[in-house]
């Protein structure tokens, strides 16, 4: 069973002078998945990452990374993972190329493997054209990409991203999210931390929600939604409103309520993905066109609000 667990966190703790920044953390990241740690600033995400990457010794507990203990086999752990730190950490008076060569060497790459990986990462991060410019002259988004690229040089099986999209423009963020998915598609396990619920929702197979150093919930997105008993709200605009159609919809399994709101019809459903095809089919049979549609899923924001009584972002 352990072979399918990329990361297994067992009662991890960290105190800063008595202040519990991370408290009895328990979670498991399966091989090949994208697992997100979602929590507001100060939740303890970076502290957790620092312990998992053997930068900080835990105050208690342990974690296994690909079977290696972070407290007893830090060398193996460091070689297995790639870490993208929250703060951009590179030499801004060196070029992208020089940075990559240096960090590659720090990970033990040499010779042709080093130059091949440097080229591949330059392509992956879209920095090949500017490879010889000083990193300090790059835009924030380019620096973030280089910051990520450094963590991928040694082809780690597990990559940990600590809030890689903080403070950048939407295009750069899009590019990074797509990059994370692409890396994962190549079989790399991803542990991703963020305080943006949209990112956790879009990327993750599974999500753990953290607050004040504790895990307060974890599961797939759907599982988390179910915790708040959330119903999808579907709002439809119809070409006409045959009475039989609305009556039929009220009787469908998974549909909680159907109400008319002027031109539009609002349905509360358990799972919009399952209900929507039936809605479209029955409308077609009644020769009614659905001309507009809006689906409002209950979101992680609602889950966080439900569990902590406060908003995820202040």
């Amino acid at each position: 069973m352990t072979s399918t667990n990329a990361i297994q966190v067992k009662g991890l703790k960290k105190n800063y002078n008595g202040f519990p920044a991370v408290h009895n953390l328990e979670f498991t990241v399966r091989e090949g998945e994208i697992f997100s740690l979602l929590g507001p600033n100060g939740a303890g995400k970076s502290t957790t990452i620092s312990m998992l990457s053997c930068l900080l010794p835990p105050s208690g507990g342990d974690a296994l990374i690909a079977g290696h203990s972070i407290t007893r086999a830090s060398g193996s752990v460091k070689r297995t993972i790639g870490v993208v730190p929250q703060e951009i950490a590179l030499y801004d008076d060196l070029s992208a190329h020089q940075n990559l060569v240096f960090w590659g060497r720090m990970y033990g790459l040499r010779g042709s493997r080093l130059s091949r990986r440097v080229d591949e990462v330059l392509d992956l991060t879209g920095l090949a054209d500017r490879r010889h410019d000083r990193a300090g002259l790059y835009s924030g988004g380019m620096q973030r990409r280089l910051n990520i690229g450094i963590a991928l040089l040694h082809e780690p099986r597990i990559v940990i991203f600590d809030e890689p999209t903080v403070g950048i423009d939407p295009q750069s963020r899009r590019r990074i999210l797509d990059g994370v998915k692409e890396i994962n598609a190549r079989g790399v396990t991803v542990l991703y931390t963020t305080h943006y619920m949209e990112e956790a929702q879009e990327l993750s197979h599974r999500i753990a929600i953290m607050d004040h150093g504790r895990l307060i919930a974890q599961g797939t997105h759907n599982e988390l939604m179910r915790m708040v008993g959330g119903l999808h709200r579907i709002t439809l605009t119809l070409s006409r409103k045959p009475a039989g159609l609305l009556a039929l919809w009220r009787m469908l399994a998974g549909v909680h309520s159907v109400s008319e709101e002027g031109e539009r019809v609002r349905l509360l459903v358990q799972d919009s993905t399952r209900v929507l095809p039936t809605l479209f089919e029955s409308a077609a049979r009644e020769e009614t066109h659905i001309t507009g549609m809006d689906i409002q899923e209950p979101d992680l924001e609602a889950v966080f609000l439900h569990l902590t009584g406060k908003a995820l972002r202040d």
């Binding site: 930068l55 460091k78 870490v83 730190p85 950490a89 030499y91 008076d93 020089q98 960090w103």
Partner: protein, 419 residues
């Protein structure tokens, strides 16, 4: 470790700031006075000028016991001039001139045989000769003023004595020669006081001559620039040590140090790599400055082995000092101020700014011993002077020892910090 040092060296050598502190500033500081060819002594605190007095004066028949040359010689022995002039007596004009040419003395004053005769209205003109080292202005000027004062005073006293004699004659009295001399002497004392408060030009009876044989660029400048360059070398090496050690703090602030600690490279290797950079930069600086000093200014550093010993001591001590200081700093801002201050203070206390002092106060010599700079200067200076092996090697050993102690303290503190 090797790659960290390589990367740091590449970054440092591309930084104009580092280069300025390593090479350009020390060379400028040492070389500017040299290149400007200005008179170094003029800007320095007052130094004692060595005067060699040759009194060839002979009495006239009228006053067999009186010699004007002796009066002048007495003036040079005046206590008030004691700090300024260190007067010794010679007996040959040629020997006195030779002493100036060979820099054994700074000024030669030659009182001619006919001075007394000339002053009593006599036979022809006779000049008092002041022959001096061209590199000096202050000391020879003092000598010139003393002589001018004397001549003015003497002329005045003669007039006073004549006037007194005429008055006495009008009253029917006759002044004897001794009374005449007594009047002149008293007048002379008074005139000397007046004369000092007046600005004086060169008296026509003074020949003021700079030695043409002593070449300033060849000897004095060179003699001065060696110690100055040495002081700058030691001072700025400690600056380089402090600045290059700061790259550790800089990396900590940039997050790259934490990132390094996340790589499989060990902490010891990472820190060793950083320290190696500091020492390599220092070695480069010391070698280059010594080489450039020799090539550009013709500085003779002394026995190569002693220079290497002291150079290594400098590298170890300056590096250790920087690493120790950095271990106690929290931010680069703090480090810049505190370490800059520490390097300047210890540098000055160590005597790096005052290497050209001919007679440094005894307190300086003692304070020097409490700084690594002081010891290393001592070793280098001994080598430069051509001093004995022990004289140059012991300070080098002390400097190296201090450097190793600093390094040990720094490494322990840093290990605790990053544990």
């Amino acid at each position: 470790m090797f790659y960290i040092a390589l990367k740091d060296l590449m970054r440092s050598l591309r930084s104009p700031f580092t280069l300025a502190f390593m090479l350009i500033l020390p060379l400028l500081e040492a070389g500017l006075p040299y290149l400007a060819f200005s008179n170094l002594s003029s800007g320095l605190p007052v130094q004692t000028t060595r005067v060699l007095l040759v009194n060839l004066d002979r009495p006239v028949e009228q006053y067999p016991d009186f010699l004007a040359g002796n009066l002048l010689a007495d003036m040079f022995r005046n206590d008030e001039l004691g700090d300024l002039l260190d007067t010794t007596v010679g007996d040959s004009e040629a020997a006195a001139r030779a002493a100036v040419d060979s820099r054994e003395t700074d000024v030669a004053v030659i009182i001619p045989s006919g001075l007394t005769a000339a002053l009593f209205g006599g036979e022809g003109r006779t000049e008092i000769e002041i022959y001096h080292d061209p590199a000096l202005t202050l000391g020879p000027a003092v000598v010139r003023d003393v002589v001018t004062n004397f001549l003015d005073g003497f002329a005045g006293s003669l007039i006073a004595a004549d006037t007194a004699a005429r008055r006495a004659a009008e009253d029917g009295a006759l002044l004897d020669d001794n009374s005449r001399l007594e009047i002149m002497r008293r007048y002379g004392d008074w005139a000397q006081g007046v004369g000092e408060s007046l600005g004086q030009g060169i008296h026509p009876a003074v020949r003021y001559e700079a030695s043409a044989r002593v070449q300033p660029s060849e000897s004095v400048m060179k003699a001065q620039i060696g110690p100055i360059m040495l002081g700058m070398l030691v001072f700025f090496a400690f600056f380089t040590g402090a600045i290059s050690a700061q790259s550790l703090l800089h990396e900590a602030e940039q997050g790259t140090l934490a990132r390094l600690f996340r790589t499989p490279a060990s902490k010891t290797a990472i820190l060793t790599g950083k320290f190696a950079t500091v020492e390599i930069l220092l070695a480069l600086q010391v070698i280059l400055l010594i080489g450039i000093g020799k090539a550009l200014f013709g500085i003779a550093w002394g026995d190569p082995i002693l220079v290497i010993l002291n150079g290594s001591a400098l590298v170890v001590a300056a590096g250790g000092f920087g690493i120790m200081l950095i271990a106690f700093m929290r931010t680069t801002r703090q480090a810049f101020l505190v370490m800059g201050g520490a390097v300047i203070l210890t540098g000055m206390a160590g005597g790096t700014m005052t290497t050209w002092f001919v007679n440094p106060p005894a307190l300086f010599e003692t304070v020097n011993l409490f700084t690594p700079q002081g010891w290393i200067l001592r070793g280098f200076s001994a080598a430069m002077r051509g001093g004995g092996t022990i004289e140059a090697a012991v300070p080098a050993a002390v400097g190296t020892g201090l450097g190793l102690i600093f390094l040990w303290i720094g490494v322990h503190k840093l290990k605790a910090k990053f544990a």
